[in-house]
């Protein structure tokens, strides 16, 4: 996985100059096509520029904190967990998380017997209403191809070793369903409240590439 950075280090150390934000490249074929289609749709009054802006704001407002809240609720409320596993979308809506598209949400529970991993081999289908935009590595071809071919090797590169007797279940999300992994609650967190638990749940754990970790000493 040479060109995939599993830790998604994106220049968060600001010790370098950013390139100026300017468009000095001529637009590509798909840029021009997108602009043409968008302008045509607005011209035909099928939707307005303000609706596009509003939808971008909705997308930008979604972060993994929403998914973490869902997971922490499921860990602390067995009845909610049951509803979540039965109908992921309806349970998220109970917590005020709206779905702005026609996708369903299937929540996949990790257990000592089964480890779930999510990928979209065709493109980048991802549970955006609950996790926001996907990380870059999720969209790259090496992850997409290898997650369904050698999931154990891919997991090992994230530092995750799954015992041979544990079943790996890869869900290829390519059409109308989105997936969220419900990770296992780590040992030693029995006294933690829902909010403290939510702080432990990371984006990558809800994709299934890592478990949720809890280090009592570090906490």
């Amino acid at each position: 996985m040479s060109d995939v950075d599993p830790h998604d280090h994106h220049h968060h150390d600001h010790d370098h100059d950013h390139a100026p934000i300017s468009s000095d490249q001529p637009p590509g074929y798909y840029d021009i096509m997108e602009t043409a289609v968008r302008e045509l749709l607005i011209e035909r009054k099928l939707f307005g520029a303000d609706e596009i802006r509003r939808q971008i704001e909705v997308l930008d407002s979604r972060t993994p904190a929403l998914g973490a809240k869902v997971v922490a609720r499921a860990w602390t409320d067995p009845a909610f967990k049951e509803r979540l596993l039965h109908n992921g979308r309806a349970a998220c809506e109970e917590l005020g998380i709206t779905f702005y598209d026609d996708t369903e949400l299937i929540v996949l529970e990790n257990t000592p017997q089964v480890h779930n991993l999510i990928v979209c081999t065709l493109c980048s289908c991802y549970p955006r209403p609950v996790l926001g935009l996907p990380p870059d590595w999720y969209k790259l071809k090496p992850y997409r191809a290898r997650a369904v071919y050698e999931p154990r090797a891919v997991l090992a590169e994230f530092g995750t070793t799954i015992a041979e007797e544990v079943e790996i279940r890869v869900s290829d999300s390519t059409a109308v369903v989105r997936y969220l992994v419900l990770p296992m609650r780590p040992a030693g967190t029995e006294d933690m409240n829902e909010e403290q638990l939510a702080d432990l749940v990371t984006r990558d754990a809800m994709i299934g590439v890592v478990p949720v970790a809890y280090n009592r000493e570090a906490a």
């Binding site: 369904v148 050698e150 790996i168 999300s173 390519t174 369903v177």
Partner: protein, 94 residues
Amino acid sequence: MPKFAKGDAVSIADRSPVGHYRMPTYLRGKRGTIELVIGTMAVDNEEEAFGRNAGSKGHYYRVAIPMTEIWPDYVGSPNDGLRIEIFENWLERI
């Protein structure tokens, strides 16, 4: 009524039509089992894209396929598996 039910053995069609199909090439011709009928029916977007049978809907199914069925040289536990949602026009009863 859904064409298939939970537990049905199915095979995925092996065809290569022109256009955009949400049925990855690596699974064409493979065999699996229906794990779940996805409740909400969806428009047959493959036909819809060409303006045929506008608005006609069908079911998606969550299909379970063993990794060893997909990759004969799969390295890992023989229990490992894949799940994918497939529109009913790609599925054949076996």
